[in-house]
């Protein structure tokens, strides 16, 4: 091994290739009827960002209302609708599709050396379904909203509210099919379309994580679709599946709902973990520590994730022995997450670490996800769950995992692959600042909520006893900072589309196949089908490649 340092390629001479997936065809129709996974990913990115800011604005309203103990900004009914729509939009229209539909869509074919996903038309259909569901959700808001909470708990949702339960349910139902199609597409693609030499254990961990998440999408989402249909039947024609006065079981709904919605948590977080594996390897210039363990921990999370749903129901009067089993399984599912955190940490060991924006978001992810994961153990232990469940402790816990974890990973990924997607670099200094602002704002917003939960403040309260005000004021102040942290990227990333520096093929000197093609890639991704002749994250291979290319250049110029 030589001691030569591979320096970043000279970007001053790099040009954005004239032919790429963005310039190949023009006009709005070429986008709306595209089968190109990269264009569909961009469509998703734009629509997802739109829903994220709607959900974010609703979160802003929640925090404003909670600034004071009384209900003063809005009526309790309005508040209930606001937090319901915040949950529905953020979960079904942002978190579930976020990384898979944008980065996964864009990168999985590139990473495995394929021309496209296996089923391009299904891929476009899944975007249309997503948009249709999204429009229905927006219509629901305009038509007066819904106030069941995003959990649609029966019999509240079936017999006691007069708001738009059916349209919201339909929106989630449609978006669910979008998610099923995406998962199906990924599974088929990863099985059938890997380039020559791309064995399962040469796949980037990003692909492993998406494979695990896809299994969950395909197997779990139909169950929530069934649950929504049963709610619709009970609301419209009075079939008594959940209604106790007709011999139905109101708890059955929660079993069905959480049978999807707990795996959904892993649908949301696993792709984010995939992003972290890529960034942490690239910016420490090292193969991910214990590749196999990280790959299998994703699969283990997906499998165990199916058998923990009842931990949402420890206080609901289910059998004490069922509680024992589900609590034990919950403890087991925490272990693969711990393994991942330590493996990422030791990826840094003896690396050569740089601190670009994606890496800062990655550190943010690791810190916040560790807290989110550990507080999950408080809730998985059946005894302490009694005190902490249904309080702000839960709210803080899942925001640490979903927002602190997933959103940080999403932003890490967006920055990391921005050069590949657009051919241009984002401005480094201001984005580092945005990463720090987000981290600080996040902690200010959600850490006080752990204490509020310990004190017993219930979630979904429009008004609260005055002794909780100080911590709520902290939380609202933090949300303001967090909002700035999220707005900044929108501004400078848009700016960089025109003014960003040209990126070149491989600005980070990363090893994935996606970096070995031009930025932005061709519609067919690669000029010729690549051959994978090295392991994943093989930085020595990359060095040799670069050296060979330089020598070729020298020879050429000498000749």
């Amino acid at each position: 091994m030589s001691d030569t340092i591979v320096s970043l390629p000279d970007q001053s001479t790099a040009r954005i290739p004239r032919v790429n997936y963005l310039t190949k065809e023009n006009g709005i129709l070429s986008w709306l009827l595209t089968g190109d996974h990269k264009r569909i990913a961009i469509l998703y990115l734009i629509s997802l960002s739109f829903f994220f800011f709607i959900g974010g604005a609703l979160a802003g309203l929640i925090r404003l209302e909670l600034l004071t103990p009384q209900t003063d900004l809005m009526a309790t009914d309005t508040y209930n609708k606001v937090f319901t729509m915040h949950g529905v939009i953020m979960i079904f229209f942002f978190l579930v599709p976020s990384v898979p539909a944008t980065l996964g869509n864009f990168l999985i074919p590139l990473m495995i050396g394929a021309k496209d996903l296996a089923l391009p038309k299904i891929n476009l259909l899944s975007w249309y379904l997503y948009v249709a569901g999204g429009i229905l959700a927006i219509y629901t808001m305009a038509a007066g909203g819904v106030d069941t909470g995003w959990t649609f708990t029966t019999p509240l949702s079936t017999h006691y509210v007069n708001t738009n339960v059916l349209t919201t349910g339909l929106a989630a139902f449609i978006a669910g099919f979008s998610s099923i199609f995406t998962g199906l597409n990924f599974i088929v693609t990863i099985h059938k379309m890997r380039a020559p030499g791309m064995t399962w254990f040469r796949l980037p961990l990003f692909v492993w994580a998406h494979y695990a998440a896809s299994i969950l999408m395909v197997l779990a989402t139909p169950v929530v679709a069934i649950a929504i249909v049963l709610i619709a039947l009970e609301r419209t024609i009075g079939i008594g599946v959940f209604d106790p006065t007709k011999g139905g079981d109101p708890l059955l709904f929660q079993h069905l709902f959480w049978f999807y919605s707990h795996p959904a948590v892993y649908i949301m977080i696993l792709p984010g973990m995939g992003v972290i594996s890529e960034t942490i390897s690239t910016f420490s210039r090292k193969r991910v520590f214990g590749y196999t363990a990280v790959a299998f921990s994703s699969v283990a999370i997906a499998i165990f994730g199916f058998f923990v749903w009842a931990h949402h129901m420890f206080i609901m009067g289910i059998s004490n022995y069922a509680v024992l089993v589900f609590s034990l399984l919950t403890m087991l599912v925490a272990v693969p997450s711990a393994i991942k955190i330590f493996n990422w940490t030791f990826t840094l060991y003896k690396g050569s670490i740089t601190f670009e924006t994606p890496m800062l978001y990655t550190f943010g992810f690791m810190g916040l996800f560790t807290i989110g994961g550990l507080t999950g153990v408080f809730l998985g232990a059946s005894g302490t769950d009694i005190h902490l469940t249904e309080t702000y402790f839960i709210v803080a816990h899942f925001h640490f995992v979903m927002v602190g974890g997933m959103l940080m990973a999403f932003l890490a990924g967006i920055h990391f692959w921005w050069p590949k997607m657009t051919g241009r670099m984002y401005p480094e200094k201001i984005s580092q600042l945005a990463a720090v602002v987000t981290f600080i704002g996040f902690n200010f917003t959600f850490f006080p909520q752990f204490i509020l939960g310990m004190l017993g403040m219930p979630r979904r309260y429009a008004s609260y006893p005055p002794e909780f005000q100080v911590l709520n004021v902290f939380s609202t102040a933090g949300a303001t900072i967090l909002g700035v942290g999220y707005l900044l990227p929108v501004l400078y990333l848009t700016w960089s589309l025109k003014y960003g520096e040209t990126a070149g093929n491989n600005p980070w000197q990363a090893t994935g196949l996606e970096w070995q093609t031009q930025s932005p890639p061709l519609t067919e991704n690669f000029p010729v089908t690549p051959i994978m002749d090295h392991e994943a994250y093989d930085y020595e291979w990359l060095e040799n490649q670069t050296r060979e290319r330089q020598q070729e250049k020298e020879v050429a110029s000498a000749g």
Partner: protein
């Protein structure tokens, strides 16, 4: 301090006076729960510190400036086994510890005093055995195990007392129980923690913990003169239950004396323990489980009796240890069929030599 703006000053004063980071411990289980909570906080802090220390020191030691060339390390089975087994062990410890507390919270001691609580949009109604009703408050004595039997009349609610560290869902159509023993007199928060519609955040109340003497005083002041079982007896008479459940040789329904807690043979072949849930189900959905030897002729009382009414009936049946009282209600209803006044009279008469315990 006058240079601080008044708003900020108010805020600071409020912070100094009302800021709390830990709720009061007012029940026997609370210190046990908190011991586990503190243990978990400690383990989490240690775990988080380890991760932060490792990440920070690696970032300093192996930054590109100090360490320009990465040394590839494949992984280490020993290290990976370590960080699999240690977290697993700690999580299993928390699982066992948590389960012990869980079973304690949801397994009431045999001698506990039972109070019924009905949740409905958006209030809590408590029914003491002595017949005292309360809305959005619950008076209890210290030093005595109190069991709550909860049910909801409409949607899911959740009865939460943070100072006691206990919480239990109130479910439509199903009894759930929880128990606690208060240790410190005072007034504590009662919250509904399961989202239940418009006024969810107003479904709150006070848990008033009194000394045993104070509690006795409160009971005497709040009594309506009739115990919960006596209310049930009144209802039993007015619904003419004794027309069938009368223990006569030709009775169309089984005798209810000593039925509570007994194993009953069902006409469908199985057996069932006659607990609160079974009695409730038999009133509202009688054809579901018919006692062996009887025809399924009992009409449903769904919609005719409120959850409070069912509770009163159940409490009455619980306290029946002979058929004497049933005979009494039968006599009064026979004497004046359909009369509004008769059942009430039956109830009041019962006090001196009734078989009802309360």
């Amino acid at each position: 301090m006058s240079h601080i703006s008044p708003v900020l000053w108010q805020f600071l004063v409020k912070w100094m006076t009302t800021f709390a980071i830990f709720p009061p411990e007012a029940s026997k289980i609370a210190p046990q729960m908190d011991a586990l909570l503190f243990f978990m906080v400690l383990v989490s802090l240690i775990g988080l510190t380890i991760v932060i220390l490792l990440v920070t020191s690696f970032c300093i030691l192996y930054s590109k400036k100090r360490h320009p060339v990465a040394v590839q390390v494949e992984g280490s089975t020993l290290l990976e086994a370590t960080w699999t087994i240690i977290p697993l062990g700690l999580f299993l410890l928390m699982f066992v510890w948590g389960a012990l507390i869980y079973f304690r919270v949801y397994t009431p001691p045999a001698n506990s005093m039972n109070i019924y609580v009905v949740g409905k949009q958006w209030m809590w109604k408590a029914e003491h055995p002595g017949g005292q009703h309360e809305i959005n408050s619950l008076h209890i004595p210290t030093g005595r195990a109190i069991q709550l039997t909860l049910i909801s009349q409409d949607v899911f609610h959740s009865f939460s007392i943070p100072a006691f560290r206990v919480k239990r869902e109130a479910i439509p159509g199903r009894y759930t129980t929880v128990w606690f023993e208060a240790t410190t007199p005072g007034t504590y928060h009662l919250f509904c923690t399961q989202y239940c519609g418009t006024n969810h955040s107003q479904m709150i109340g006070d848990i008033v913990v009194l000394t045993p003497e104070g509690y006795k005083k409160w009971l005497d002041q709040s009594t309506s003169g009739m115990s919960l079982a006596q209310n049930g007896e009144r209802l039993f008479a007015s619904l003419s239950c004794a027309a069938c459940h009368n223990a006569r040789p030709d009775a169309r329904g089984p005798s209810l004396a000593n039925v509570y807690g007994a194993r009953l043979a069902l006409s469908s072949g199985g057996t069932v323990t006659a607990d609160d849930a079974y009695l409730r189900e038999s009133i509202l959905n009688p054809s579901q489980h018919v006692t062996q030897g009887y025809a399924p002729i009992m009409p449903t009382y769904q919609g005719q009796v409120s959850e409070e009414g069912v509770i009163a009936l159940v409490e009455y049946i619980k306290n029946l240890n002979s058929d004497y009282r049933i005979q009494q209600t039968l006599n009064t209803t026979d004497l004046a069929p359909g009369s509004e006044g008769a059942p009430a009279a039956a109830g009041q008469k019962s006090a001196p030599k009734g078989m009802v315990k309360q």
